[in-house]
C-alpha cells in the first residue's frame, strides 16, 4: 500500500502529541509499520506544535515531505494555515473550531485573522470543520477534544473503528474510557 501521511498541528497543551501517539499505535495494531515525529521542548510553553504520523508497509522517514500529507488534522484554526504546504493534491483538512490567541494578538500588537477558515476553505475544497469544544462537552469533558478530533480523522481512514477504540481505551485513564469512547463516536459521526 501507499504510505499514509497525517500531519497534526495545534498549540502546546492541546493534546497534539497524545493524538499522534494514538494514531500511530492504532496503525500498528491494524498491522502496519508506523513512525511518528515531533519536537519536545520550547514548543510546549504555548508555542506552535506539530506532529507527523506515517504508516504503511515500510516507513523510512518519520517526517512527511511537503506536498504529501493526505490529511492535516488541526487543533487550532490559525495553526492550520501555517502547514498547508504539506498537503498532497486532493488532500483533506480537518479544522477544530477553536482559536487560541498568541501573545501578540492578546496584547493587541497583531490581529487574529478572523476569516481564516474561509480562506483555508477557498484553497482546500476538502476542508471539514469539527466543533471539538461543543462535541467534547457533549461527551462529558472538555479534556476529550483530542479524542473527538481523532474520531473525525478516523472517518477519513480505512482502519476499523474497533481498532481505534481499543487503542484509545488503553491510552486514557481507566475511569475516563466511557467518556472518551463517546468523544470518539461523536467526532467520527460528526
Amino acid at each position: 500500500m501507499k504510505t499514509v501521511n497525517i500531519l497534526i498541528c495545534g498549540v502546546g497543551g492541546q493534546g497534539v502529541l497524545l493524538a499522534g501517539d494514538i494514531i500511530a499505535e492504532t496503525a500498528i495494531a491494524a498491522g502496519h509499520d508506523a513512525k511518528k515525529s515531533e519536537v519536545h521542548g520550547m514548543a510546549q510553553r504555548g508555542g506552535s506544535v506539530v506532529s507527523h504520523v506515517r504508516y504503511g508497509d515500510k516507513v523510512n522517514s518519520p517526517l512527511i515531505r511537503e506536498g504529501e500529507a493526505d490529511v492535516i488534522l488541526s487543533f487550532e484554526e490559525m495553526e492550520t494555515a501555517r502547514y498547508l504546504d504539506f498537503l498532497a493534491p486532493g488532500g483533506a483538512v480537518i479544522v477544530n473550531r477553536q482559536q487560541v490567541l498568541p501573545m501578540t494578538v492578546a496584547t493587541g500588537q497583531a490581529q487574529y485573522p478572523a476569516d481564516i477558515v474561509d480562506r483555508i476553505k477557498a484553497q482546500v475544497p476538502n476542508t471539514k470543520l469539527c466543533d471539538g469544544p461543543a462535541l467534547s462537552e457533549q461527551a462529558g469533558s472538555a479534556k476529550t477534544i483530542n479524542v473527538v478530533l481523532v474520531g473525525a480523522l478516523a472517518r477519513q481512514l480505512d482502519i476499523p473503528k474497533d481498532t481505534w477504540i481499543a487503542t484509545i481505551s488503553s491510552r486514557v485513564p481507566p475511569k475516563t474510557v466511557e467518556i472518551n469512547r463517546k468523544a470518539f463516536e461523536l467526532g467520527y459521526g460528526g
Binding site: 519536545h40 518519520p62 498537503l87 490567541l101 498568541p102 501573545m103 494578538v105
Partner: protein, 584 residues
C-alpha cells in the same frame, strides 16, 4: 514483543538489556527521556547529576569498578563534559562505558547546532549513529560490547529526529552484568605525563583496530540499487535519502568514526556518481574527500559554477530539504497562509514573571541564562540582554562591571535559575566574591528544573525517582561563598521584588536576591481564576505589560479580559491594577 518507542526510550531499553548498572546524567533536550526511562528500571542505579561533567565522571568511576555505565546529554552538554571525556579516551573502559550525545540540528531547543561527531574524532573514540528506534536499541547494546572489547569510551550520537521520533521496536531480555570489582592499576588510570605518553600510543593503535572492525561491521551496510547513483549517509539522513532516492545504491554507515576506508572505496568504485547526504557538518564528506575521491555533498567548493552548496550545512534536514537540494522538489499544490507567529511564552501564573516585570520597570541590564526564564526576554517583558551558556549570566555581569566600573554594576543584574545555579553558577559567584566584584545575582528558585520537563534538582528535596533527598539551601550556599548581602523574596509580590532588586543593586560588593516560589506546574494546584470588572477597568493596559497569556485586550469596550481557562489566580495582575478591576 514489539512496541512503539521513541529513539530515547529505545536507547534506555537497549542499555537496560545490556545490563547497565550505573547511569548519571543532567537533563537537556533532546536527550532527557533517556535518563527518565532508565530511572524506571529497578535493576539500574540512575541519578540526576549536577551537571554533565559530574555525570560523565560518576559513570567513569563506575566503569573503574567493572560496572557497565552510561551518561547522556544534549550536544552542548558534551562541551561541559569534554575534559573528563578526553581523559577517559586515554584511560579506556573496564566495565562498558557509553556516552550518549543528542545533537539538535535546527536548534529546536538549543543555542547552536554543533556536530558532536567531531568529538569522537578529536578524542579518538568510536562513534555509533543509529537511524531509527530499532537501531537505537541495538546500538546501545552494542556500544557496551565495543567499549569492553576495545577498551574505550563509545560515543552514541543521536539527533533530535532520532531521539524524538517513534518507531516499532522488537524488545529483548536483560542480560545481567555483574561488576567485576575494583583492581588497582595506576598505569591505566592515573593520567600523569609518563603514563599518558604510553596511553596515547595505545589509543592510536586502538583506532586502527576499530577501523578494521568497521570494514565488516554489520551496522555498515551496502544496499545495492541503481549503479548510476550511490549515496553515502548515516543517521536520520539515511531515512530521508531513502525516500527521496528510492532507486539509488546506498552505503549506510552505523559506525561513523573511524571510517571503513576500504568499504567506502569499493562502494564508490561500484557506482557512477556519489552523493554524501548528512545533516549539519560535512563530517563524512571531508574525510572521504581527504582519501582523494570526488563526491557531492554540502561543501560549498563542490560546485564551482554556482559556488553554492547542495545539501545545506545550516538547519535541519528533512525529505523536502534533501529533495530540494537536488532539484527534485515540486512546488506544493497549496501555499501556506501567513498568520501571526506563535512563540512560546511563560505560563500564566509563572513565578518568573514578577522578577522580569521588576527588571523591566527598573530598566536594568540583565545578563541572562538558560531555562524557562530565558522567555523573560520576550516582549512585553523584554527583560533580558544576553545569553551565553549555562552559568554564563553571573560571569558576564562580572565582566561588564570589570570593564565599565561600578556604575555599570549598579544597573546590571545576572539572572539565573536554580538548576542552572547548581549546574555552573556557583563557581562564577565564588569568582565574584574572590575578585572583589560589585554586582547582583538574581537566583530564580522555582524548586525544579522546569524547561526540560520538570526534573528534580539539589534544591527540590527529591531524587530522580522522586524519593526524599537533602534540600540544599541556595541562601546558605550564597553566604558560604562569601556573599554578605543575601535577600530572599517572593516574586509574586511585585513591590517586595522591586524593592529587593533596587536595594541589592545599590549594595557595594556582591549581593544575591533569591526569588523563591515554585513553578506553577509542579502540583498544578491553581487558585480560582480572576475576572476583570469591565466597569472598573479604564483600559490603561498596565496589566498587559506582564505578558500573561491569560490576559487579552480589546472587545467592543476596549477593556482587558482574563480567560478563565488559562488564569491560575496568581493575583500578580491584580496587584498591578490601579483601579482594582481584577476580581475573584
Amino acid at each position: 514483543m514489539k512496541k512503539l518507542l521513541s529513539g530515547n526510550e529505545a536507547v534506555a531499553r537497549g542499555a537496560w538489556e545490556a545490563g547497565v548498572n550505573v547511569v548519571s546524567a543532567y537533563p537537556g533536550t533532546p536527550s532527557t527521556e533517556i535518563l527518565e526511562n532508565l530511572a524506571t528500571y529497578p535493576e539500574v542505579y540512575a541519578e540526576l547529576a549536577t551537571n554533565e561533567k559530574v555525570g560523565l565522571e560518576v559513570a567513569a568511576g563506575a566503569s573503574f569498578g567493572g560496572a557497565r555505565a552510561l551518561t547522556c546529554m544534549k550536544h552542548v552538554g558534551l562541551n561541559v563534559a569534554a575534559d573528563p571525556l578526553f581523559s577517559m579516551a586515554y584511560i579506556g573502559a573496564t566495565g562498558g562505558f557509553v556516552v550518549v550525545t543528542a545533537d539538535d540540528p535546527g536548534m529546536h531547543s538549543s543555542q547552536n547546532e554543533q556536530d558532536n561527531r567531531y568529538y569522537a574524532k578529536m578524542a579518538k573514540i568510536p562513534c555509533l549513529e543509529p537511524s531509527d528506534s530499532q537501531e537505537c536499541l541495538a546500538f546501545a547494546k552494542l556500544a557496551f560490547e565495543l567499549s569492553e572489547k576495545f577498551d574505550t569510551p563509545v560515543l552514541l550520537r543521536l539527533t533530535t529526529r532520532v531521539s524524538h521520533s517513534k518507531g516499532v521496536v522488537e524488545l529483548g531480555r536483560r542480560a545481567e552484568h555483574t561488576p567485576s570489582g575494583y583492581v588497582k592499576d595506576i598505569a591505566k588510570r592515573i593520567t600523569i605525563p609518563a603514563h599518558a605518553r604510553k596511553m596515547h600510543v595505545k589509543v592510536e593503535e586502538r583506532l586502527r583496530r576499530l577501523a578494521e572492525y568497521g570494514e565488516t561491521f554489520a551496522g555498515n551496510t551496502v544496499g545495492k540499487g541503481d549503479k548510476k547513483l550511490g549515496i553515502i549517509t548515516s543517521g536520520i539522513s539515511y531515512q530521508y535519502a531513502r525516500d527521496v532516492f528510492p532507486e539509488a545504491s546506498f552505503l549506510k554507515l552505523g559506525l561513523t568514526y573511524p571510517l571503513p576506508k576500504k568499504l567506502i572505496a569499493d562502494f564508490i568504485r561500484s557506482v557512477d556518481e556519489v552523493y554524501v547526504i548528512e545533516e549539519n557538518d560535512p563530517f563524512l564528506e571531508e574525510q572521504i574527500k581527504a582519501e582523494g575521491y570526488f563526491v557531492k555533498g554540502s561543501c560549498a567548493y563542490d560546485n564551482p559554477v554556482t559556488g553554492k552548496d547542495r545539501v545545506p550545512i545550516t538547519g535541519e534536514l528533512d525529505p523536502t530539504v534533501v529533495a530540494r537540494s537536488f532539484g527534485l522538489q515540486r512546488e506544493p499544490p497549496v501555499q501556506p497562509i501567513a498568520v501571526p507567529a506563535r512563540p512560546p511564552v511563560l505560563c500564566p501564573g509563572c513565578p518568573h514573571r514578577g522578577v522580569f516585570y521588576a527588571i523591566s520597570k527598573l530598566k536594568l541590564v540583565a545578563t541572562g541564562d538558560i531555562g524557562c526564564y530565558t522567555l523573560g526576554m520576550m516582549e512585553p517583558l523584554g527583560a533580558m540582554d544576553t545569553v551565553i551558556c549555562m552559568g554564563g549570566s553571573v560571569t558576564a555581569a562580572m565582566g561588564l562591571e570589570k570593564a565599565l566600573g561600578p556604575e555599570m554594576a549598579k544597573r546590571t543584574v545576572a539572572v539565573i535559575g536554580d538548576s542552572t545555579f547548581f549546574h555552573s553558577g556557583i563557581t562564577g559567584l565564588i569568582d565574584m566574591v574572590y575578585n572583589n566584584a560589585q554586582g547582583t545575582v538574581v537566583i530564580l528558585d522555582n524548586r525544579i528544573t522546569a524547561m526540560t520537563g520538570h526534573q528534580q534538582n539539589p534544591g527540590s528535596g527529591r531524587t530522580l525517582q522522586g524519593q526524599p533527598a537533602p534540600v540544599l539551601s541556595i541562601e546558605e550556599i550564597c553566604r558560604a561563598c562569601g556573599v554578605q548581602d543575601v535577600r530572599v523574596v517572593d516574586p509574586l509580590d511585585l513591590k517586595a521584588t522591586e524593592a529587593a532588586l533596587k536595594a541589592a543593586a545599590g549594595h557595594p560588593g556582591v549581593s544575591a536576591v533569591i526569588a523563591q516560589s515554585p513553578c506553577i506546574l509542579i502540583d498544578k494546584k491553581f487558585k480560582p481564576a480572576l475576572h476583570v470588572d469591565e466597569d472598573a477597568c479604564v483600559g490603561c493596559k498596565l496589566c498587559l505589560k506582564l505578558g500573561c497569556p491569560a490576559i487579552s485586550f480589546g472587545g467592543a469596550r476596549k477593556k482587558s479580559r482574563i480567560d478563565p481557562n488559562f488564569c491560575t489566580g496568581c493575583e500578580v495582575c491584580a496587584s498591578l491594577c490601579p483601579k482594582q478591576a481584577m476580581k475573584r
